[in-house]
């Protein structure tokens, strides 16, 4: 249909799930969308009509208004394909709004949103039963109108999916038509049918382009459903990780998988689900606040990765949640582009490498990395935790209250258990792995990490290349997913490019979040959130990068943050870490209203007052007020007496802690 063709962005993203270059993992649309959405507003009340018109214009939609339903219907009929969505009042003198709804559904397959001053449930119910996509109650606010594009997308997407799975189109049509004629809902079905048909046409066109052999011929009977067995999914995931999540096109995946009888459509729909799954994971993992996988990266560097897969499987098998290969592959994929060495069963290497390369999403990284520090021994997982904790005892005590439960004591089993539970098996596998290989070297590092991570609920994330930010030292902190990054002198830094979009989305929920900015990733954006007033902070904080150019930017941010210090901003300044560097705690973390202002890392060349940045002299912080802890401490002080500082300001602890350990190691 013309309407469909007019929305290239939508159709492109929906028809084939092809990834595009935008940063949003889920809905792949161009940056302009939904600007220019063509809306038709029908309301006999001229006041409301004028107001809606203005509001919609402000949403960058393209508006046409009409005060009579009959005129509107004619307009829709004459100009098919000129509108994307219809907003209609329920009570109109010349035609009932619901009748208009039915007509539009029948003839034009457009999403229709009803409006009314009558907000009674019965009235709303009637609207829904008639097939309205949504029912808005006057007075309508601009925010509600901003979201109407969702209905357009959702409708098309659902139709698309329906088509994929439904098999023969004709059968469905006939069936539905036969049964539903007499019902109110008939309009909905017919609408759906129309859309399905339209979708099918679009998909045909698209698939022809791909040279797909799959037949769209409705005459073919229902396609046999493909069962995605573990092996099959494993192959799928390995293919996807080989290609890279962004470049994973169903066709190429199909080629790589080389499974006879598997169609591109099967792969496409499975890919769609997979992405949803990843997205969900990322949301979950963020809540848990795990370490980034960059941590693993560090491990890998020092030693040969070993067979993570083994442990993975063990761990996973123990928990029995996710098939290890799947999970491992998942991680590999999430972690970014593995260098192509991804072998599912022994996932370690690619995972680690991937982590180095800057995974796109933090999510699973968090989850994965989270458990790293905890597990030390190759043996029993549960045993490790206490052990790990013990090793970091002194540090922990120094940390004071902040990590989790108690002053300085990380309750091993409970915490770790919690951790493990939260972060899932992956972590265990990872931990195992880490333990095995580079144990001597990494132990102290791991220690630190571990210390910082004790409380999943607090979600202190320690990531090698991230800033370590205690998520909650006291009530003042908000747990959120604070990805903390510590810059190590290894390549950790490079590894995880956090998925800032994820973070930012978090922050948008007005929850605390900490943006980590991994170095080297130009497109990372820092997410600083703040908290009830994130607006002031976040925008200024976005798009941080390592460059000194951003220093000014960050400085601005920092000052903004500092100004908000009264509240608690767990601000994580962009972590422009220096790869070579040592620990850079680039966290703009406002721990408390006290002297500890933001622990902020500011890029080179910026010196931000009261910003705590721990770093080594050779690294970026040359101009920074390095080590300005509590606003006054200098770097040296930090270096030499970290523990003291820890105790004083437990909140600031981790970054310092990390540095401390680092020095101890080196």
């Amino acid at each position: 249909m013309a309407a469909l063709q007019k929305l290239p962005q939508l159709s492109a993203c929906m028809a084939a799930n092809e990834p595009s270059s935008t940063c949003k993992p889920e809905l792949v649309v161009s940056d302009q969308f939904p600007a220019g959405l063509r809306v038709l507003v029908v309301d006999d009340d001229v006041t409301c009509l004028r107001i809606l018109e203005q509001m919609l214009r402000r949403c960058t939609y393209h508006v046409t208004t009409c005060s009579q339903a009959t005129v509107a219907l004619n307009l829709l009929r004459e100009k098919r394909g000129c509108f994307d969505v219809v907003l209609s009042d329920v009570h109109m003198p010349d035609m009932d709004g619901f009748k208009l709804l039915e007509h539009v559904g029948l003839e034009m397959d457009l999403p229709v949103i009803m409006m009314s001053a009558d907000g009674r449930t019965s009235a709303v119910m009637r609207g829904i039963r008639h097939g309205a996509c949504d029912y808005l109650i006057k007075p309508i606010r601009e925010e509600e109108l901003k979201n109407i594009w969702q209905h357009v997308v959702r409708k098309r997407w659902n139709e698309n999916k329906e088509h994929e799975h439904s098999g023969s189109l004709d059968d469905n049509d006939r069936h539905k038509r036969g049964n539903d004629d007499a019902e109110y809902a008939s309009s909905v079905y017919e609408e759906a049918e129309g859309l399905l048909r339209a979708q099918k046409k679009r998909r045909d066109a698209k698939e022809e382009d791909d040279g797909d052999l799959d037949s769209d011929d409705p005459a073919t009977a229902k396609k046999p459903r493909v069962v995605w067995s573990v092996e099959l999914h494993q192959q799928f995931v390995s293919a996807v990780s080989q290609l890279g999540i962004d470049k994973a096109v169903p066709k190429r995946i199909l080629e790589l998988m080389n499974v006879p009888g598997l169609t591109r459509e099967n792969v496409a729909s499975h890919l769609q689900k997979f992405r949803l799954y990843l997205k969900r994971l990322s949301g979950v993992a963020q809540q848990q606040g795990g370490m980034s996988s960059s941590y693993c990266g560090s491990v890998e560097q020092n030693g040969k990765p070993g067979s993570l897969g083994r442990f993975d499987i063990q761990a996973l098998a123990a928990s029995g949640h996710i098939p290890p290969q799947t999970l491992a592959a998942l991680h590999a994929e999430l972690l970014g582009r593995p260098t192509g060495n991804l072998v599912l069963p022994g996932m370690d290497q690619p995972l680690l490498q991937a982590s180095l390369q800057g995974p796109k999403r933090i999510s699973v990284d968090h989850g994965v990395a989270y458990g790293h520090p905890l597990v030390r021994c190759p043996a029993n997982i549960s045993k490790h935790f206490p052990q790990a904790i013990i090793t970091a005892d002194d540090v922990r005590s120094g940390l004071g209250a902040w990590p989790s439960n108690g002053p300085g004591t990380v309750g091993p089993s409970s915490n770790l258990g919690g951790l493990v539970a939260q972060s899932g098996n992956i972590l265990m596998g990872m931990l195992h792995h880490q333990q095995q290989q580079p144990r001597p070297h990494h132990q102290p590092q791991q220690q630190q990490k571990q210390v910082t991570q004790p409380d999943p609920s607090r979600s202190i994330n320690v990531q090698p290349s991230c800033l370590v930010v205690p998520s909650q030292s006291s009530a003042s902190f908000q747990a959120g997913k604070n990805p903390v990054s510590i810059n190590r002198n290894c390549s950790f830094n490079r590894s995880s490019s956090m998925d800032y979009s994820l973070l930012s989305s978090q922050s948008n929920n007005s929850s605390f979040g900490i943006a980590q900015i991994m170095d080297g990733d130009p497109k990372t954006t820092s997410v600083l959130n703040g908290y009830p007033g994130p607006g002031s902070v976040s925008p200024s904080m976005s798009s941080c990068s390592i460059n000194a150019e951003n220093a000014a930017n960050r400085q601005l941010q920092n000052s903004t943050v500092a100004s908000n210090a009264a509240r608690q901003l767990p601000v994580l300044a962009p972590n422009v870490c220096d790869i070579q560097g040592s620990y850079n705690t680039k966290s703009g973390h406002v721990l408390d209203q006290g002297p500890l202002r933001n622990l902020g890392f500011v890029g080179k060349g910026t010196s931000i007052p009261s910003r705590f940045a721990v770093d080594e002299p050779d690294s970026l912080m040359s101009n920074l007020n390095c080590g300005r802890i509590y606003g006054e401490n200098n770097e040296n002080k930090v270096k030499q007496e970290p523990s003291m500082e820890f105790i004083e300001s437990a909140k600031v602890g981790i970054p310092i802690l990390q540095k401390f350990f680092h020095q101890m190691i080196s």
Binding site: D44, D45, V46, T47, C48, R50, I51, Q54, M55, R57, R58, D89, H91, P93, S116, A117, D118, K138, P139, I140, R141, E142
Partner: protein
């Protein structure tokens, strides 16, 4: 000095608005209207309010006609008019008017003529009040624009 006039007038406007808010005559939807006003629609608020007055007076006349009918029975039509009045009043933020209309609608649903009449009287009274106040508001606004524009044609 010269700009003081404009500033004072703006202060007057704000005071009036605050007063109306405090009384419950207006609510934050009115603020939304003000926010919708921009360079592309510089007179948006007054435009919309004038449309509202125009339309509402028609509706009020109809309602009065229906309520004062000898055979006071067309509740359905009354309900329709009221719905529209509720929609437009709430859309511009006329909170008190909206509430009266809602009560009016309830009385109409219950087919209660006395209550309808009382509601109508209250409605008309409040409508006049709102209209006067908003006229006043726009007058001050006009003066403010003139004061700001005349003295400092470049500045704003």
């Amino acid at each position: 000095m010269l700009g003081l006039g404009a500033d004072r007038l703006r202060a007057d406007m704000n005071r009036l608005l605050a007063f109306l808010f405090h009384q419950g005559v207006l609510d934050e939807q009115f603020l939304q209207l003000q926010q919708l006003q921009d360079e592309s629609s510089p007179n948006f608020v007054s435009e919309v309010v004038n449309i509202y007055f125009h339309e509402s007076e028609k509706l009020l006349r109809n309602l009065r006609g229906l309520v004062l009918e000898r055979e006071f029975s067309d509740y359905k039509r009354m309900g329709i008019h009221l719905n529209q009045l509720i929609g437009s009043s709430s859309s511009i933020g006329a909170k008190r008017l909206t509430n009266i209309c809602v009560a009016f609608r309830a009385a109409s649903d219950q087919n209660n003529p006395t209550a309808c009449l009382r509601a109508l009287e209250l409605l008309e009274h409040d409508y006049c009040y709102l209209k006067n106040k908003l006229h006043e508001f726009f007058q001050i606004e006009q003066q403010r624009v003139m004061a700001a524009g005349v003295r400092y044609p470049i500045q704003n």
